[in-house]
Symmetry: C3
Subunit: 265 residues, 3 copies
């Protein structure tokens, strides 16, 4: 999938897809800027009055429950239904699912009301949603007791979504095909929001193909290659997030091909 990743990367930059993101107020600025660096165009509105028309203009919708309120859930459902009618992909980042009942309940509510294309979470979140003993502390994963790959496949089959579980090695499955991506650097865990930013990049890539497994794997590879390159020239979390943006903006498809560590299982 290395060549397909490079082709999709080129396509994203040519198309410059508008990615509507309803997200948390902690990492929203980094998500907007990473979207630009990935080649997309971000718009972040979350007012129930504004989202229907904005999603109508967009090529993908990203929903992130990092700082959720009931008003935002309402906006997400309006936006999600618009996306479904229009046939654009919807990416769900279930931040902190499994940590509190409110978050877990709201994820299931969204999954009931909206057809979700990609669910992207950490091991704790995916484990909690898959019933595989996921443990979440705040918004950080403490792993799961079950088998990670089986949990992803099970959640994918239950929801019809492609499931992405991020970690040292990322697992992606659409229920039939399963891939692993082994790029990235542990420095990515030292800043807040790299998970959220991953969902933004998946949004960009998902808008340019019908293959959600490819979109997710390619986005993970590209974002994580940029992360590895950034880590090499960073002195700590502050310089890392800056360098991550610079590297992502400048990464070329040709450079990506030999570096993308994607494997279909």
């Amino acid at each position: 999938m290395k060549d397909e990743t490079a082709r999709l990367m080129t396509l994203v930059r040519e198309k410059r897809p508008l990615v509507h993101q309803i997200t948390n107020n902690v990492t929203v600025n980094d998500c907007a800027n990473i979207t630009l660096c990935a080649g997309g165009s971000p718009v972040m509105t979350d007012s129930p009055e504004d989202v229907e028309e904005m999603t109508g203009l967009a090529s993908a919708l990203v929903l992130n429950i990092g700082t959720l309120t009931n008003a935002i859930i309402e906006a997400m459902i309006i936006a999600g239904r618009t996306a479904n009618k229009k046939g654009i992909p919807v990416i769900l980042d279930p931040v902190g699912a499994g940590a509190t009942r409110y978050r877990t309940d709201m994820v299931w509510k969204l999954l009931k009301e909206i057809k979700i294309s990609v669910i992207k979470g950490n091991a704790g979140e995916i484990g909690a949603l898959a019933g595989a003993g996921g443990k979440v502390r705040g918004v950080d994963s403490e792993g799961m007791t079950g088998d990670p790959k089986e949990a992803c496949i099970s959640l994918s089959k239950r929801t019809g979504a492609t499931v992405v579980m991020t970690g040292a090695v990322d697992i992606i499955t659409d229920g039939n095909r399963t891939a692993v991506v082994n790029n990235g650097h542990e420095m990515m865990t030292t800043v807040s929001g790299t998970g959220c930013m991953t969902a933004s990049v998946i949004g960009c890539y998902a808008s340019c193909t019908d293959d959600m497994l490819l979109a997710s794997a390619a986005a993970l590879a590209v974002f994580n290659i940029a992360g590895s390159k950034a880590a090499k020239r960073s002195k700590g979390p502050g310089s890392f997030i800056m360098n991550l943006k610079d590297e992502l903006a400048h990464l070329t498809p040709n450079e990506t091909i030999p570096l993308a560590n994607i494997r279909l299982l």
Copy 2:
């Protein structure tokens, strides 16, 4: 206007004006920090319960509709009326006007309820408000079909506000006088929120003169000179936003005089 720009720049830094900003949650941190770098003091409250008294303490009010809700509109109207009573300038950034009806409607509502001193938008937003075929995609301009200068003058005459249209060359008009500013660097389009930050800087400058054309032109020149200097030492969007802050904080009035490319038409 080069000398007047340098004098105004000195005045802003001496006065350190408190600039109350009701803005979006995407770029709010950069707007606060850019205000500090420009020599002002930012305060960002948007609670209907808090804004009247806070605007009462301020020297300028900046309204930005980037992530609007009905509660924020309510706060903007309370704050705007307070600013009008007190006689301090009100800067309006109509982010995404023309993209959705909600945004366009809310801009006209604000223009009806509040006397706005300066409207600052991109070509798409100004074109949409002026009825000159402005096109907006998310929050990005896709230009207008009409004549940019005429659109600015028409919107200025209709609203009584000084109109600023940002772009490769910025146009500023108070309906009688029209100026163009030709500073800046295309790297400014690679980060989210440089438009929002421009409005923050205009807020600082507008609080130190009654001449809104001068305030706007000077703010645009200063901010964009800092942008050009930053671009020269940046490796990408991440380092650019950092360097922009450093350069703006250190730019001197003397340095600005030969660099400010402001021309009265």
Copy 3:
């Protein structure tokens, strides 16, 4: 208290405490990232539906009124009562108290409804709350007319909280013991939110000891030493905030001992 500071610093990094923060939307990202750099794990939810359970998972609660709404006050009271029941420390940052009646009133409401462990403010805020003629302009201190040390002691005795007054020299008192910390650099005043970030670091440290005076003094020393080190290699406010994160993440307990300028009065 130098050795105790170093020991507490080690403990924070070992325990990696979950610090629940209900804070403003201006500096929330920097607060989350500084918490990570200090060795803690941040979670920032402020929905009334979500906070009780989240505080139940946390080791400290930080309340910051920088951009307050009535819904957030409601969430703060729910979270604060949960923290009190559970016996974890609650840090209050009364941003802008004294500037508007709404802010001042809400601080007293929080102090009535919740047992606060540490109140951390600037001279204007502490002076206003202590009735010592504090002056606040927006969210910046313009000092107080009364004696700073006496104002801190008076507010501490009235509220039962440890009081921290930040400035060129920081004052900390639990009503009986009073300490001063003389670290830091004036460059810390050139970026928005260093005060908010200080409260986040105090949250991390307060979760690892019962001694709120020690926790506050140690957190101030560590954060400000990182600030001094960062200032030395920064060209302006943009590079300073980046370097502050890098320095805080890498500061070692051994390095801190000779640098921590903490003195019990």
